[in-house]
Amino acid sequence: MTVATDEIPLDQPARDALAELLLTVADDEFVIGFWDSEWTGIAPMLEEDVATSSIAQDEIGHARALYEVLATLTDDDADRIAFGRDMDGYRHAAMLNHARGDWAFSVARRWLYETADAVRLTALARSTHEPLAQLAGKMRREETYHRMHADAWLRRLADGPPDVQARFAESLAALWPDAQEVFAPLAGDEELQRHGLLPEPMRALHATWQAEVRPVLAPIVGDLPTIAPTTDGRTRRTGDFRWLHGQFTLVSGSEVGATW
């Protein structure tokens, strides 16, 4: 049994493990929110443009809240954490390294991410770290809308004409290996387990996610290979992310100490 309170003092290894966990979730939300916000103004239909933008903004909002929990834990500042690291300091999953691509790519990535995030949030809502558990609970309620939307688009593309199905299947297959990295092993996994900060290990969450998504994806894309998350699943980077990092640090990094 765990007692959900953040007053139970955590030793340094536990704090480090929790900080790492928070950073991974926050960075995932931050980066996917950035990529999807790029659709603002240029989505396929005006009504859909507004919907996609809302979802991207929600992700940035979640990132902000998570960075704030982390900032309290490590005596730091949310904006400094979000905007102030070198490219190598980010801990988002490899799936989020890629630019938004075309609509099929974005829809595919969003569906894979939302399903994975849902599994993770369900676990985090039972974390012994109270601020995280509460935040995860709130995020899950907002994610209901995201899931509805992602499912709606998955069906529309998967049930579309053959060329659309093919395009969509190709995106899903291309994203599949990197998608596993949402569940990449964390250095502090043992600590997280020991203190109930993450109630189930990453590999168990990964298995839950697999069991949920494979039946949905198989009719669209055929059998997908079994791929284990890798140790650099949250540290390897691409040129796309280098570009993104350059963009979001362009103004924030232009004058040290300035307020914007």
Binding site: M45, E47, E48, V50, A51, S54, H149, A152
Partner: protein
């Protein structure tokens, strides 16, 4: 003049309906309720190919700021419209149906005055 009752049909499906497309974009009217107990008020309309996306888009345009307690989303062709003034603003006197049709000021003054004389 014959009373004109129209349905939203004429404007509900957008022009250029493709002959080979079985799905077309439709217009959906959105009504919103600001707070619990308030009336549903027509607020605008969205284009969407089906109910599911119509609900999403109605939420976006009339609820993304948390400004609505409830939304009704109605296909435009389901809305019947009546705007015939012969039915809605018929010309003969109907003042007996409204509060403004009962102005008692002078009669009340007269009655009070009479009652005042009688009591001395």
């Amino acid at each position: 003049m014959v009373a004109v009752v129209r349905s939203g049909q004429s404007r509900s499906t957008l022009h250029d309906m493709s002959s080979h497309g079985e799905r077309v974009e439709r217009v959906w009217e959105v009504f919103r309720q600001e707070d619990e107990g308030d009336p549903m008020i027509h607020s605008g309309n969205v284009n969407a190919p089906d109910e599911e996306l119509a609900i999403h888009y109605a939420r976006e345009f009339y609820g993304r700021r948390g400004e609505s307690h409830r939304l009704w989303i109605v296909p435009r062709e389901s809305v019947l419209e009546l705007d015939d003034p012969d039915l809605l603003k018929p010309p003969l006197d109907r003042s007996h149906k409204k509060p403004g049709g009962y102005i008692i000021k002078h009669k009340l003054e007269a009655a009070k005055a009479r009652a005042g004389e009688g009591s001395t």
